[in-house]
C-alpha cells in the first residue's frame, strides 16, 4: 500500500515526466529510489531526472541507483557537473560506458574535480585530430593508452597530461607526442621487411646461431641477439633520433616551442637516473641539444663512428648499426639499460604487424570488389558474344551457361598487368580481359599501387577473384536466398531495384508503405526550443536575410517604381529613331527563391540514442529556421525491413503548415528497423518531380551505409542507392547527403558525387550544420 509520502513523490515525478511515458513498474522503481532520501537530495535528483529522462530512460534508471552514494561526496554544483559528465559519456560511448563511469566515481570524476587530472586528451582530441590530419595529410585515429605509441593507423596518447600547470603547455606536450608518433611512421619505425634479410642476418648473427622463427621481421631481428631487450632499446633510440631529426626539419616551430619541455625532462632525468646505466648518457646528450634547439647529432665517440644515419633509408643499414652498438655493449654485461624518456613511447611491433595484415586484407577486398564492377560490362558483352553463335536449340540452358564460363576462363584472362614507370613507382593502369584492354579508374590505380607497395607485385589471385565475383559465382548463394520470395510484387507504390550484377532492374521488387506518425507531447519540444534558442534566433536572422534581400526585377511592363536605367535607354532609343521599350518598371521580386526541399531522415535502429535525439533536434531547429525563410519543404522519416515492407513516415507534407502537430510528429520519430535507401529515394524523387519549383532538393540525413535485413548489403546496396540517386538527378532533383558516419568518405562520394555530401563527425554539431549546409546550398 503506497504511503502518502510516496504519492507526493509520484506527483512530483509525473510533473517532470508525462504519465503517458511512464509504465507502472518504472513509477514504482522511481519512487522506491527516491523515498529514502532527504528532501534536498530528492530535489537535486529530481532536477537531474528532467535532464536525463529525455535522453534515455534506461540511463535515467541507472543514474537513480548511483545518485545516492554520489550525493554523499558531491555538493550540488559538483553533482550537476557529474551528471553532465555522465551524459557526455553516454553520448560518446553508450550506456555501458556511462554505467562504468558512474560506478567508478573516485577515479573518473573526483580526481578531475581536485584538479589532478591536468589536461584531458578528450578535451583537446578534436583540435589535435585536425592538427594531425593536416600535418600528416591523412587521418589517424587518436586513442587513449598509458604510454604514447602507434600501430601506424592509430596514435596512442595518455589519457591526461599533468606535467605543467597550464593547459597551453600541456597541449604542447600532446602536440609534440602526436607529431613524434607521426614522425615515427614517416621514418618507417616498423620496417616490415628488408629485401636481403638472409644476408643481413648472416652479417649480424654470431656464427652458428639460427635465426629465430618469428612471424614479424623486427622480432626476428631482435631475437638474433642473446639479449633482445638491449637490441630493441638501441634500435628504438636510433629511430627516435631519426624521428626527431625529421621533426626538426619538417616542424621547426614545434621543436623551438618544445625546448622548455625538453629542459624539464632533462632535469628530471639528471636527478633520478643512474648515470652509469646504458643509454642514460646518450639520451642526456640528445635532450641537451633539444633543450637548446640545436641541430641534432648522435652522441660523440663510438656512436658517431659506427652509425650512418644518412643511409638509414637504405635497406638494412640501421640494423647493422644497431648490431655494432650492441657488440660494443658486450663489454658491459652487468649494466642495466636506462629507462627511455616518456615521450618516446613504446614500440608496438605486433600491433603494427596486425594492422598491416588487416589493411592488406581490406585493400584486397576493396580492390577485388572495385575490379569486379569495372570488368562487369565487358564480361557481360563477352558472355553474350560467345553465347549467341554457340547456343543451338538442342542445348539445355545449363550447357549454354557452362560453355560461356569456359570461354571466359580459357585463354589468358587478364594475367598481364601492364607495368609502367620505374620499379619503385609502379602504377597498374590497365588489365587485360582476354584480348581486351580495360583501363582502371583512379581508385583502382591507387589501390593497386598500395598493394604493390606492400607486396611488391599484384597477385594473380586478386584478378582471379575479381573475375569470379564478376561472373556472379560468389554472389550465387545470395541470389538463391532471394529465390523463394523472388517474385515481383503486386499492388501500389512498387519500385524497381537496381541489381549491379545483372546491370539491370529487378522489376516491382520493393513495396513502399506511407505511414502516419501519432504526434506525441512531452517536454522534448519545449526543452529543445529553449536549449537551442540562441541558435534558432541567429538562424532566423540569417535565413531572413536570405529571404528579404532586396531584390528588384528591372525592365518589367508594370511594377512598383520606374526603372531609371530602362527609361534612359528608352529615351535614347527613341532619339536614335528606334521604337522605345515598354518595359520601364521595376518590380519587387517576392518569390525569387522558388526552392522546394524534402528532408529524408534515416530512422533505422542504428540511430538509437543520442543520434536519434540530435536528428530530432536538428529537424526542429531547421523547421524553425525554414519558417522565416519561406521555402517550401517536407520532412519524412524512412526505415523498414525487407523488400516487401519499406516504410516512410510522414512528418510534414510539402505544403502543410508548420504546426504543433508537426512538432509533435518530429518528437515522435523513433528508431525503427533497417536502412533500405533505394525505395524511399525513388518514391520521393517521383513525388518531387511533380512539385513545381526552380530548384528541387532531396536532403538525406543518415548515420551509415544503406543496409537491410535481407541481401541488401555491401556493394549491392551501395550500387542500388547510387542508381536511385542517378535516377533522381536525371529527373532534375539535386540530392544531397549529410552523414554522421565517419567512415563515409570511403563510399559516400561514389554515392552522391563529390561536393554533394557533408560528413559530420560530431553529432552535437548537427543542429548547427544542417541549416548552415542548407544556406550554403541554396544561396
Amino acid at each position: 500500500m503506497p504511503s502518502s509520502a510516496d504519492h507526493t513523490i509520484l506527483a512530483r515525478v509525473t510533473a517532470i515526466i508525462p504519465e503517458s511515458e511512464l509504465n507502472s513498474w518504472e513509477q514504482e522503481e522511481l519512487v522506491e529510489c527516491l523515498a529514502p532520501l532527504s528532501g534536498r537530495q530528492q530535489e537535486l535528483i529530481l532536477h537531474q531526472i528532467s535532464v536525463i529522462w529525455p535522453v534515455s530512460h534506461s540511463l535515467c534508471l541507472a543514474f537513480l541507483e548511483a545518485a545516492e552514494p554520489a550525493l554523499a561526496c558531491l555538493d550540488a554544483e559538483q553533482f550537476a557537473a557529474w551528471v553532465r559528465a555522465i551524459l557526455h559519456r553516454y553520448e560518446a560511448r553508450g550506456l555501458q560506458e556511462a554505467r562504468r563511469f558512474m560506478a567508478d566515481l573516485e577515479s573518473h570524476f573526483i580526481c578531475t574535480l581536485k584538479g589532478q587530472s591536468g589536461l584531458l586528451l578528450s578535451t583537446i582530441k578534436k583540435r589535435l585530430d585536425l592538427y594531425l590530419r593536416g600535418v600528416a595529410g591523412r587521418p589517424f585515429v587518436l586513442e587513449e593508452a598509458t604510454l604514447p605509441g602507434t600501430d601506424t593507423a592509430a596514435i596512442f596518447l595518455p589519457r591526461n597530461c599533468t606535467l605543467f600547470g597550464d593547459d597551453d603547455a600541456n597541449f604542447l606536450v600532446y602536440k609534440l607526442m602526436a607529431s613524434l608518433q607521426w614522425a615515427f611512421v614517416r621514418v618507417n619505425l616498423y620496417c616490415h621487411e628488408v629485401p636481403n634479410e638472409q644476408e643481413l642476418f648472416r652479417k649480424v648473427a654470431r656464427p652458428g646461431s639460427v635465426p629465430p622463427d618469428q612471424p614479424v621481421f623486427l622480432n626476428r631481428f631482435f631475437n638474433l641477439f642473446s639479449r633482445p631487450g638491449r637490441a630493441r632499446a638501441i634500435y628504438h633510440f636510433l629511430q627516435t633520433f631519426s624521428a626527431l631529426c625529421f621533426l626538426q626539419k619538417k616542424l621547426p616551430g614545434l621543436m623551438a616551442d618544445s625546448t622548455a619541455y625538453f629542459q624539464s625532462v632533462a632535469a628530471e632525468r639528471a636527478a633520478t637516473m643512474e648515470p652509469q646505466s646504458l643509454l642514460a648518457g646518450e639520451y642526456g646528450f640528445l635532450l641537451k641539444q633539444l633543450s637548446r634547439n640545436l641541430p641534432l647529432e648522435l652522441p660523440p665517440g663510438p656512436w658517431r663512428r659506427l652509425c650512418h644515419p644518412a643511409s638509414w633509408d637504405d635497406s638494412g643499414q640501421i640494423f647493422l648499426d644497431t648490431a655494432r652498438i650492441y657488440a660494443l655493449w658486450e663489454e658491459k654485461p652487468d649494466q642495466e639499460v636506462a629507462r627511455p624518456p616518456w615521450f618516446q613511447g613504446t614500440l608496438q611491433v605486433e600491433a603494427a604487424h596486425a594492422r598491416r595484415l588487416a589493411r592488406r586484407q581490406e585493400v584486397e577486398q576493396q580492390f577485388i570488389e572495385a575490379l569486379a564492377i569495372r570488368i562487369l560490362p565487358a564480361l557481360a558483352r563477352k558472355k553474350e558474344a560467345t553465347q549467341a553463335p554457340e547456343a543451338t536449340p538442342a542445348e539445355t540452358p545449363q550447357q549454354a551457361d557452362s560453355a560461356a564460363d569456359l570461354s571466359l576462363r580459357l585463354p589468358t584472362p587478364q594475367n598481364e598487368p601492364e607495368k609502367t614507370g620505374p620499379d619503385h613507382n609502379q602504377v597498374v593502369r590497365h588489365i587485360r580481359l582476354d584480348d581486351e584492354k580495360i583501363g582502371l579508374d583512379s581508385k583502382l590505380q591507387e589501390l593497386g599501387r598500395e598493394i604493390m607497395d606492400d607486396l611488391g607485385h599484384l597477385p594473380q589471385l586478386y584478378l582471379d577473384s575479381a573475375e569470379k565475383m564478376a561472373a556472379g559465382r560468389s554472389y550465387a548463394p545470395n541470389l538463391q536466398t532471394a529465390g523463394p520470395e523472388g517474385a515481383p510484387l503486386l499492388g501500389t507504390n512498387l519500385y524497381d531495384e537496381w541489381d549491379f550484377r545483372r546491370q539491370g532492374f529487378r522489376h516491382n521488387w520493393c513495396r513502399l508503405l506511407e505511414k502516419e506518425i501519432q504526434p506525441c507531447g512531452g517536454t522534448f519540444i519545449a526543452a529543445t526550443l529553449n536549449q537551442q534558442r540562441g541558435v534558432i534566433k541567429q538562424l532566423k536572422r540569417q535565413f531572413e536575410q536570405m529571404r528579404s534581400h532586396p531584390r528588384f526585377l528591372g525592365r518589367q511592363r508594370d511594377g512598383d517604381d520606374i526603372d531609371l536605367d530602362a527609361l534612359t535607354e528608352a529615351v535614347a532609343d527613341q532619339r536614335a529613331g528606334l521604337p522605345p521599350s515598354e518595359r520601364l518598371f521595376v518590380r519587387q521580386l517576392r518569390d525569387q527563391r522558388d526552392i522546394a526541399a524534402l528532408f529524408l531522415v534515416d530512422i533505422s535502429s542504428s540511430t538509437e540514442g543520442w543520434v536519434g535525439k540530435a536528428i530530432k533536434e536538428s529537424l526542429l531547429v531547421m523547421a524553425e529556421a525554414m519558417e522565416s525563410l519561406g521555402d517550401r519543404y517536407a520532412i519524412y522519416g524512412f526505415s523498414g525491413m525487407r523488400r516487401t515492407r519499406s516504410e516512410v513516415f510522414r512528418v510534414k507534407e510539402m505544403d502543410e503548415p508548420y504546426t504543433e502537430t508537426v512538432q509533435g510528429r518530429i518528437a515522435a520519430l523513433s528508431p525503427k528497423e533497417y536502412t533500405r535507401m533505394g525505395p524511399p529515394i525513388r518514391h520521393f524523387s517521383k513525388m518531387l518531380a511533380t512539385v513545381e519549383a526552380r530548384v528541387r532538393l532531396l536532403i538525406i540525413l543518415t548515420d551509415g551505409k544503406p543496409e537491410d535485413y535481407d541481401d541488401y548489403k555491401g556493394e549491392y546496396a551501395i550500387e542500388d542507392t547510387r542508381h536511385a540517386l542517378v535516377e533522381a538527378k536525371n529527373s532534375g532533383i539535386h540530392p544531397f547527403c549529410l552523414t554522421l558516419d565517419t567512415k563515409a568518405p570511403e563510399y559516400i562520394s561514389h554515392l552522391f558525387g563529390a561536393a554533394n555530401y557533408l560528413v559530420i563527425d560530431d553529432v552535437k554539431k548537427l543542429p548547427r550544420r544542417l541549416p548552415d549546409m542548407y544556406r550554403l546550398l541554396t544561396s
Binding site: 583540435r127 585536425l130 593536416g134 600535418v135 587521418p139 602536440k175 563527425d761 550554403l776
Partner: protein
C-alpha cells in the same frame, strides 16, 4: 569598363605566369582553332593570371568582366546613351572584344543569371557571331577573337551551376593548385621571399588542404600564400602573418582555426 578604349586593354609587359603543364599549348591551340575556353579551378589558383598571360602571349587585348547576378545583357553587349541631346551607342565589353578581335574573359560566370549567359551561345559555337538587337546588327567575330569563362566547381550551391548547353561549347582546362615545387617557385617570385620560406608556406598550404575532408571548405590558395609571403617579407613575424592571412581567412570555426594555428606554430 565602358568608355575605356580598346588600346588600353592590351597588356604591355609580360605578366608572371609559371606554366604547369599543357595548359598554354592547349589554350593556344583553342585560339588557333577558334574554340572558346572554360577554366575550372579553386579560388586563387591563377585562372585570371593565366588569362593575362595568354592575352600577352597572343598580343591581343584582354577584356575581363567580373560576373554578378545583376549583370544584364545590355551590360555585356552595349546600349544607347544620351550625350548633349544626341544619342550615342556605346559598345559593351563583349561587343568591344568581338569588334577588335580581343579576348573576352567572363570571370566567375556562374554568378551571372542564366538568361544573361545565353547571349554568348551564338558566339561560342561555329557561328561565332554576336547579334546586337538594338542596332539590328550581327557582328561576326574575327579569327583573333576568343571567349573564355571561368568558374569554381568547389561551390556547393545548386542554384549556381553551368547549364550543359553552355558547357558543351567549350574546351575545359582545369587549373588546380600547382605541384609543390612549382607553387614554391611562384610564391618565391611573387612575394619576393627566399626559396626555403616559400617551401614552408607551400607545406602549410598542403596541410590545410588535407583538412578539406574534415570540414574546411577550401584549403589555402596560392594567392593566400603570396599574401602571407608578402607580409613576412615586410617584416611581420611569420606566425602572425600566417594567422591573419591563412588561418583566420579560411574558417570561422573555432576548432579549425585553432588546428591551423597549431600547424603554423609547428612550422615557424
Amino acid at each position: 569598363m565602358q568608355g575605356k578604349r580598346i588600346e588600353e586593354h592590351f597588356i604591355e609587359t609580360e605578366p608572371y605566369y609559371r606554366v604547369q603543364g599543357q595548359e598554354l599549348t592547349i589554350a593556344l591551340a583553342a585560339h588557333q582553332h577558334k574554340i572558346p575556353l572554360l577554366l575550372k579551378g579553386p579560388t586563387g589558383s591563377g585562372k585570371s593570371r593565366f588569362m593575362q598571360y595568354l592575352a600577352w602571349k597572343l598580343g591581343r587585348p584582354l577584356i575581363t568582366v567580373s560576373c554578378h547576378d545583376d549583370l544584364s545583357t545590355s551590360d555585356l553587349v552595349g546600349r544607347y546613351l544620351i550625350r548633349g541631346g544626341e544619342t550615342v551607342w556605346l559598345d559593351g565589353p563583349l561587343t568591344l572584344a568581338v569588334r577588335h578581335g580581343g579576348i573576352c574573359y567572363l570571370d566567375e560566370i556562374v554568378e551571372a543569371r542564366k538568361d544573361t549567359t545565353v547571349v554568348i551561345h551564338p558566339l561560342a559555337d561555329d557561328r561565332r557571331e554576336l547579334p546586337i538587337e538594338k542596332k539590328g546588327e550581327i557582328l561576326s567575330a574575327p579569327p583573333e577573337f576568343m571567349l573564355a569563362l571561368s568558374y569554381n566547381p568547389g561551390y556547393q550551391s545548386v542554384v549556381k551551376d553551368l547549364k550543359p548547353s553552355t558547357r558543351q561549347r567549350f574546351i575545359a582546362l582545369e587549373l588546380a593548385y600547382p605541384s609543390p615545387d612549382i607553387e614554391a617557385e611562384i610564391v618565391q617570385h611573387e612575394a619576393g621571399v627566399s626559396r626555403s620560406e616559400a617551401e614552408k608556406l607551400v607545406h602549410l598550404a598542403e596541410m590545410t588542404r588535407s583538412l578539406e575532408d574534415a570540414g574546411l571548405q577550401e584549403g589555402a590558395s596560392t594567392r593566400l600564400l603570396i599574401h602571407a609571403g608578402t607580409l613576412i617579407k615586410s617584416g611581420i613575424p611569420p606566425r602572425q602573418a600566417c594567422k591573419v592571412t591563412i588561418s583566420e581567412t579560411l574558417s570561422d570555426d573555432h576548432e579549425l582555426v585553432a588546428a591551423i594555428d597549431e600547424m603554423i606554430s609547428s612550422l615557424y
